[in-house]
Symmetry: C2
Subunit: 220 residues, 2 copies
């Protein structure tokens, strides 16, 4: 039995650019202005790792309460910028197909409830589906914990898991978990960045992944 483990933001829902812009504004307001492209390349880490990486890049320290207030402000700005979640092309159909054909899958995201609920709703994710969120594990991507927790709850072996993600952090975490990975361009990374991080295939978006499931050896 093989299983797919999906990242959420940028992989199934089109949220990356709103996250980038929300972080850029939240950081600038706190006197920590940072270039858009540097923020983009950090999206997909957990919020905590993200703010610490930003602080290091700016050569300053960041206190726990400052980190918390940045994360809070990012959340506010994100909801203002993107009041409605939009599934990426083919995401809803892919999820429906997996349910209909009993292909096992789970979701492992650096996001947290309740923030991720709107994305799960718009994708038609069922209650019984395995969802591992940031709060469920000690360490977020690029540590392998999220994917390993998802794999355990899916009750399949590491070797039988295929991670699907849009960020290099997903692909690095997959390698550290000992899992194969597939990259999607829908988070705005280039194809080579994803291949070099370990993706053995790169597709444009969930629609192209859906058309290509045979290439992954996932279908019976």
């Amino acid at each position: 039995m093989r299983a797919l483990i999906f990242d959420l933001d940028g992989t199934l829902v089109d949220t990356v650019y709103a996250h980038i812009f929300a972080w850029q504004k939240a950081l600038a307001e706190a006197g920590m202005a940072l270039e858009g492209w540097r923020i983009h390349r950090k999206i997909g880490m957990s919020g905590g790792l993200f703010t610490r990486a930003v602080a290091r890049e700016l050569g300053r320290e960041i206190k726990a309460e400052e980190e918390e207030s940045l994360q809070h402000r990012h959340g506010e700005l994100f909801r203002e910028l993107l009041p409605e979640r939009r599934p990426l092309p083919g995401a809803v159909e892919l999820i429906q197909f997996l349910y209909a054909n009993n292909v096992l899958f789970g979701i492992a995201t650096s996001g947290r409830r309740p923030e991720i609920n709107a994305s799960l709703d718009v994708l038609g994710i069922k209650e019984e589906t395995v969802i591992v969120e940031r709060g469920s594990v000690a360490r977020a991507k690029p540590e392998p914990d999220l994917f390993l927790a998802c794999q355990e709850r899916l009750r399949v072996s590491v070797n039988d898991c295929y991670v699907v993600g849009d960020a290099v952090w997903d692909l690095l975490a997959a390698r550290r978990a000992g899992m194969l990975s597939v990259g999607l361009l829908s988070g705005g990374y280039g194809e080579d960045e994803l291949s070099q991080a370990g993706a053995f295939r790169v597709y444009r978006d969930p629609a192209e992944l859906h058309r290509s499931l045979d290439e992954l050896g996932l279908l019976p």
Copy 2:
């Protein structure tokens, strides 16, 4: 005499992600929702080429008045999202260095006046500097017209021009103009995307370009 020809947005000022998000919102409001990454990879074309490319991607036609209203709304949203322009790291110092050392340079942008004035001001661009904007030529990037017009006004030969840009559209236009080109990661493309489009060197941002001018054979 060699000369540098700079793109503006994403190359000298940190505006790409605000442009992406402004386009995404303007398009969604007009019922033409499109994924962030697809918008990102079109930034740097002229606004007119951009809206037509989007329309084709969505499989519909776009009338001249609709195109105009999209561009107008994009401009409004852009100014709302990013009231202040921020130079990319090292951009102001690089420009000052070029002036102080009599290294010839110009700016060739798909943007238009008066929208680009705030960017030129924040960079400390002098009145006498050659600026070729979208309105000055018939066809924008990836056509070579902007770079060729800049080269003519700089009175140097095509062979002596180095284009500096962050988007594949800059690099393709440079090749069509017969000019060497240098890519910057500050617009959010991956390094391989820029190399494959023709950049013979790729730097992170203007600061790294400044430290590397010797590698380009530009200094006496």
